[in-house]
């Protein structure tokens, strides 16, 4: 289905990443945001607070991030596309309820504009150190989808993609931006509403006496309802059966949690990467977010000196594009992983590569972007 023109600010804009995220959400049909201010994500909420009353949305600033995430899930069950925005410290607070969203299979989007951590860290400076937390942050076994935009334009697009993925797979989807992309201002082209494709919520057509809230379809995803439609379902964070009733047994756990994990893990179509010059590459820089842009000059410099360097940029970071990485690993000499942390996605690369090629990490504590020289040096190291 197409976007609602009322919410789409078609035209050429000069926006920063945060503002572009807000526009992307509104274009995607999000009409509920419950958030709590935290640098550097506050601007998303601020823009939404201003725009929602003009497009028919509700914004509420909650008393804390736990309340924000709980309200987001409640709103999802109330029948509206909902989201929240935060950064590192708030992300940590939201973890319990992200697990609840995964367990209840509530479609929602959480934007984390990452900053330097841990703890209060560097509130106004970038980081990319929450990547593993995005995947494993809440307790228990579950899978989520996480995306990483590398420009304000991509912020707009990725947020729409996030909403579509969350509706398709009934899973909380995380947008792992960073302060650099969030606060950089660039040209953002917002297309016409008819050009924006949206995935509608998978409401069931079954009558209440035949509908089972957690009975999966062919793709392991159950159909949804919204509260107040007479279905009278019970939804719980406890391990439950297809009716939604809590069942305290290992069989129910196996049936439910395995499906929660596999509906993402085994859906091979959840891949979105961008490849630059990888066809003939001997070294591939694997990165995401702002780091991927910082790597470009290094790759260009290497190419000038005859090193066949390329880039594999992850847009969907979780689930990790294992097949793509394994396929490349068989052809190339080395992966150079560039990320603004001391090694997080790097271990995923190592795991998938399993020795088929070298893996080199170019870490960075955050607070500023990499020096392209360091990336170039690592590329040179890789071909030795």
């Amino acid at each position: 289905m197409k976007a609602d023109p009322k919410g789409v600010l078609t035209g050429n804009h000069y926006l920063d990443g945060d503002h572009a995220c807000a526009e992307g959400a509104i274009a995607a049909g999000c009409r509920f945001l419950a958030g709590y201010p935290i640098t550097p994500s506050t601007e998303v909420a601020e823009r939404v607070a201003e725009r929602f009353p003009r497009v028919g949305g509700i914004f509420i600033q909650m008393e804390d991030e736990m309340g924000s995430m709980a309200a987001v899930i409640g709103a999802a069950w109330g029948g509206v596309k909902s989201m929240t925005v935060t950064s590192g410290p708030g992300f940590s607070l939201m973890m319990e309820n992200i697990g609840l969203a995964a367990m209840m299979e509530a479609p929602c989007v959480v934007i984390n504009v990452q900053r330097g951590g841990p703890s209060t860290g560097l509130p106004t400076l970038p980081g990319q150190a929450d990547m593993m937390q995005a995947r494993w942050g809440s307790h228990g076994d579950y899978e989520i989808i996480a995306l990483s935009p590398n420009s304000p334009q991509e912020c707009f697009e990725v947020v729409i993609e996030a909403f579509n993925l969350s509706e398709k797979y009934r899973v909380p989807v995380l947008v792992m931006a960073d302060e650099c992309v969030g606060h950089m201002t660039e040209k953002v082209v917002i297309p016409k509403a008819e050009e924006i494709e949206l995935y509608p919520r998978r409401y069931t057509k079954l009558p209440p006496n035949k509908y089972l809230p957690f009975k999966p379809g062919e793709d392991m995803v159950p159909e949804m309802i919204k509260a107040g439609d007479g279905y009278k379902i019970h939804v719980t964070g406890l391990t439950h059966d297809e009716k939604g009733y809590p069942v305290m047994s290992w069989e129910a756990q196996e049936k439910l949690v395995r499906r929660l994990v596999e509906k993402i893990r085994l859906n091979a179509e959840i891949v979105h990467v961008e490849e630059i010059d990888t066809e003939d590459a001997e070294v591939v820089v694997l990165s995401y977010g702002i780091s991927s842009r910082v790597a470009i000059p290094a790759i260009k410099k290497a190419r000038k000196e005859g090193i066949k360097a390329g880039q594999l940029r992850l847009v969907i970071v979780w689930p990790f594009p294992e097949e793509k990485v394994r396929e490349l690993a068989k052809k190339i000499n080395a992966f150079v992983v560039v990320e603004m942390n001391y090694g997080q996605m790097f271990y995923e690369v190592e795991r998938c590569v399993a020795g088929d090629c070298k893996t080199i990490l170019v870490p960075h504590g955050g607070g500023w972007v990499h020096d392209p020289e360091d990336i170039y040096k690592a590329i040179k190291e890789a071909v030795k």
Partner: protein, 295 residues
């Protein structure tokens, strides 16, 4: 010696509340002489007297013994995380303002871990009814001290007696701005049903505290007998004082309990303020929220 009589097959007779209960999950998990079932029965009675159709009534609960209520009512019910029933209900209500949202949870869940959400929802006058079953203890986890445990009471984490001053819940709710505040005990079945019905038919943040016996933990640990002994205590020691000053409603260990309807006032709800305010400022540029529609 008499031969063992065969147990006759149970008759199929339907309790009038069965249309409201998920009968495939009955009998419930609450202990013998626990008062939560009684509070739930009062709630069911109240539901007969409200204007909203039952499809639009949603129950949200948190974690704990009372939190299990959501699993037994045949309504759209949500069993969320510990302390987060109120913000969950906030999201639910704002997404679909036609819903009648009831938060039915325990004192530990609503006032302990959920305290922050409680005071803000009351302050905002979020349109919901909060029924707080107060058994003075964290029962589900084995009987730990709660923010409502009376001074000197024994719990598993206050084995020498509780030395912390507990909350006075009606006073807390009233000072935060709740528009309807009442306290009853589980024994006051008719009065609590009436209060619940009044609150359900009222707009704004309503708070009803139901003092319930906890037999296995609170009563046993404090050598008070069982739930029935506590009910008898409520019978002999509860005093009805409608409109009493909420400052005087503290509960001391095994002393008089003042019950009644204390606050019943009008204030614009969150959505009313939000919509009216925006309309005034934005005039015809204001597009009110169109209702639940995830498309």
């Amino acid at each position: 010696m008499k031969a063992v009589e065969t147990v006759p097959a149970p008759e199929v007779i339907e309790h009038p509340m069965e249309s409201l209960l998920r009968m495939d999950r009955i009998p419930h998990i609450w202990c013998s002489t626990c008062g939560i079932g009684t509070a739930l029965t009062s709630f069911a009675e109240a539901l007969k007297r409200i204007d909203t159709p039952l499809e639009k009534v949603c129950v949200v609960s948190g974690i704990g013994c009372t939190g299990r209520v959501a699993g037994y009512v045949k309504l759209d019910s949500f069993h969320s995380t510990h302390g987060r029933a109120i913000p969950f209900a906030t999201g639910l209500k704002l997404a679909n303002p036609e819903l009648k949202v009831v938060v039915f949870s325990g004192d530990g869940d609503i006032i302990g871990i959920g305290g922050n959400h409680f005071i803000h929802a009351a302050r905002r006058n979020m349109d919901m009814v909060v029924i707080c079953v107060n058994n003075f203890i964290y029962a589900m986890t084995g009987g730990q001290v709660a923010a409502t445990t009376p001074l000197t009471a024994n719990t598993s984490t206050s084995p020498y007696g509780n030395f912390e001053q507990p909350f006075n819940l009606p006073h807390l709710a009233a000072s935060c701005g709740a528009v309807y505040v009442a306290r009853w005990t589980a024994l006051h079945v008719r009065r609590s049903a009436k209060s619940m019905a009044e609150a359900l038919n009222k707009k704004g943040f309503s708070f009803i505290e139901i003092i319930c016996p906890c037999s296995t933990l609170y009563a046993r640990r404090n050598k008070l007998g069982d739930g029935l002994s506590l009910m008898k205590f409520y019978h002999d020691n509860s005093v009805i004082k409608h409109g009493a000053d909420t400052r005087e409603l503290d509960i001391e260990f095994q002393k008089k309990i003042i019950v009644g309807k204390f606050i019943d006032r009008e204030r614009p709800t969150f959505l009313e303020s939000y919509n009216n305010g925006l309309k005034q400022v934005l005039k015809d540029k204001f597009v009110p929220y169109g209702g639940a529609h995830a498309d």
